[in-house]
Each structure stands twice: as structure tokens, then as C-alpha cells.
Subunit: 200 residues, 2 copies
DNA sequence: TATTAAATTGTCATATTTGACAATAAATCC
DNA sequence: GGATTTATTGTCAAATATGACAATTTAATA
């Protein structure tokens, strides 16, 4: 009995508000006051439902990494059996798929990870698995490529993609997306020429 | 007459302390208290010599960008007439030349630039001229390469370099430096094959 | 030594952020 | 309606960051 709990919905609202705040003000700039205002709730309620600042950020990291994994898994599932590499480029470098809020949140978390051991470990794992997945995709298209070249190109593609994120605060994304994509294609071509097989 | 002014030395000490604080705590985490503690001065003195927070950060940005420009200019001046591209790779991707503190400060400034119009403009100019300089170096070695390919490879090299910075908070630099350099070499090779002339 | 200009110290007021908790209101079940 | 559980509001205290300024000390010169 008793009054029905709104904990789940409220937690959802609060984390969404937190997410938006982090995208705009960074993690440190996202005070409980701001989160409360953004979610339309009183600060006391934010504390009541989610807890203190530490628990709040923990839940946000959970949420962001999980959503990122889900979207990435969905993307991977859509990859064609052959030629997934070029499909990957479309996913990483087309204007349409870019999400400025997500970009800024990830940037904020990476930045904050520098001063938070737990967060750093979790982001490391996240980044590592991302890199590995890309390597697997490449290896499938270029089975004859060496491990080193696959690793280099994987890291290269991810760098080109992430650098668009990193420089996002400077607002030069529009200007840099095309060269980023072209450079990514160059890297892929490197694997083609080295590989004997079925490179696209 | 009167007591001799220590403004210059003190300002120097304070900005150095500020620099170290930003590398460790980020810009927002570098409170006047911390800067004072780090410099061994009272907070009142920090205010006395440098001014309020806004002037302080303005001076720090001056300092960092100027030092960066100086070092970059010095590096450019050392470039050989031919084959500067490979010399560039050594400069960007060798362990020895990496400066973790500088990396973190630049990261902090780029990040903060997202919420500071003046800083953003200054960082844009800085980044732009960096990109241009790289393009000029490449064009000299690969005169037959198209403008697009030069732009793409320039951005690619810079991405590989900067991404090491961006991921620095995750502490994976050691792991990623080698693939970064290999990918950079791949990008250069692309220009070689496209160019008819004197590529190394 | 007296004067002067600057360094240095110390203090007060204010705003912000956060944590803790009491008090009230609302919804559900018996 | 009464009991119970939770949402919701409101308030107080502590910590921190900053700005402003008075008071004192120090080091030069005349």
C-alpha cells in the first residue's frame, strides 16, 4: 500500500536533464541546482530520487555508456557481410548521424575521467572494445592485412572520428568533416593495396 | 623611488602555478585558492598582481598559445628543405617530445572554449594556422598532390596527434602512440603514390 | 631619518553549492 | 475514514569561491 512510487520516471527525467546539462555546461558545471531547474523539479527531489552528486554521476555514466553500446551494437548488427568497412565510414562521418549533445557528453566524461579512477577504468574498457570492434570489421574485409596495419587503421579511423568530437567545442566540425572522411578513405585504401583479397 | 615592484616575477610565478593547476584540475577546478597555494602566495596577492579570475584566464591563454606558437615556429624553422613531412612525423609522434602537462592544458582550454566566445575564437585561429602550416609542409614535399588530398592528410595527421591528447585523460597514450604513428605514415604514403614528384 | 611606493597580511561580506532533515501533501489499501 | 507510504516543499547549516578593502610591513630614495 502507500502512495505509488515515481522513482523510475523521475530518475529518468533527472538523468535526461543531467545529460542535457553536461552537454551544455560540462560535468563540473552541472550543479544540482541546474539539473533541478532543467528537469523542472526541486533540488530536494533530485537528491530524494537519485541521491548525492556521486551517485548521480555514476548513474549518468551507466546510462551514457549503455546507450552508446546499444547504438553501436545496433549499428554493428546492420553491417553487411562484405564491405562493412565502407558502411562504417558512412556511419562515422556523415552529417546525418552526428549528435552534438552526445559528442559533448562523451567529451565531458573523458575529460572528467582524468580525475576519477572509476570513471577512467570504465571509459578505458569502453574505448578498448570500440577499437577492437572496428578492428574486427576491418579484418573481415581485409583478411590478409597484418595485425599491425589493422590496428593502425582502426586507431586512425577512430582518431579521425573522435577528433571531430574533441574539436567540437571550437565549432569547426562543419569545416573538418569532409577532410576527416577523405583521410579515412585513404587509410582504408592502404589496407586494400596491402591486401591480396576481397577489399572493396 | 619606493619599494621595487615584483609584478613581473610574481605574475610569472602565478601563471606557472595556474598552468600546473589547469593540467591537474582543469580550468574550472583551478580556484584562486589552489593557484595561491600552488604558487606559495596568498590569494590576496594573486588578485593584487594579476587581477580577477577573468584577467587571470586571459593571461594564461595568452601565455599558452604564445609558448605553443614559439615552439611550433622553432620546430618549423628546423625543418629540412626536403622531406620535412617525415621530420614532422618524428616531431608529432615520438615519446620524447610529448609533454603531458601541455597536453592537458590544451585539452582544458579547448574544452572551456565551448563556453567562452573569446577563447573559442582564439583557439580557432590557433588551430587553423596549425592546420595550414602542416598543409604547407606537405605541399612542399608533394607538389603534385591535389588541394583536397593535402587538406585531408593534414587534418588526418593533426587528428592522430590531437587524439592522443584527447584520450590522454584515459591514460592510454602509451598503447596508442605506435598505431597513431603507423597510421600517419600510411596517410603520407597516400600522397606519395598520388604524387609524381619528389615524395620521400 | 623621513618619505614614498609597493608588497604583504588580514578581514569582512556575499554568493554558490551541497547535505541534512523537518513538515506537509497526496495517493493507495484496509 | 484511518493507516501507511511516498512525493513534495521548505528551511537551516556547513563548506567553498570570490570580491573588496583596510592595515601593516618592507625596501628603495632624498
Amino acid at each position: 500500500m502507500g502512495r505509488p512510487s515515481k522513482k523510475e520516471e523521475r530518475t529518468e527525467e533527472i538523468l535526461n536533464a543531467f545529460y542535457r546539462c553536461v552537454a551544455r555546461f560540462g560535468l563540473e558545471g552541472s550543479t544540482l541546482e541546474r539539473i533541478a531547474e532543467e528537469s523542472g523539479l526541486k533540488r530536494s527531489l533530485v537528491r530524494h530520487f537519485v541521491g548525492n552528486r556521486e551517485e548521480l554521476t555514476g548513474l549518468l555514466v551507466d546510462r551514457v555508456l549503455q546507450q552508446s553500446d546499444e547504438q553501436w551494437s545496433a549499428f554493428m548488427a546492420m553491417l553487411p557481410a562484405q564491405n562493412g568497412s565502407h558502411f562504417l565510414l558512412d556511419g562515422l562521418f556523415s552529417d546525418q548521424h552526428s549528435d552534438p549533445e552526445f559528442v559533448m557528453v562523451i567529451e565531458s566524461l573523458i575529460f572528467a575521467a582524468g580525475r576519477d579512477d572509476d570513471m577512467r577504468k570504465r571509459m578505458q574498457v569502453w574505448m578498448q572494445s570500440f577499437t577492437n570492434d572496428v578492428a574486427v570489421i576491418l579484418q573481415k574485409d581485409y583478411p590478409d592485412a597484418t595485425t599491425e596495419s589493422i590496428a593502425a587503421v582502426s586507431y586512425g579511423l577512430i582518431s579521425l572520428y573522435f577528433n571531430l568530437d574533441s574539436l567540437a567545442p571550437l565549432g569547426m566540425n562543419q569545416q573538418y568533416r569532409q577532410p576527416a572522411r577523405t583521410a579515412a578513405e585513404y587509410l582504408l585504401q592502404t589496407l586494400e593495396s596491402a591486401s591480396s583479397g576481397k577489399g572493396a
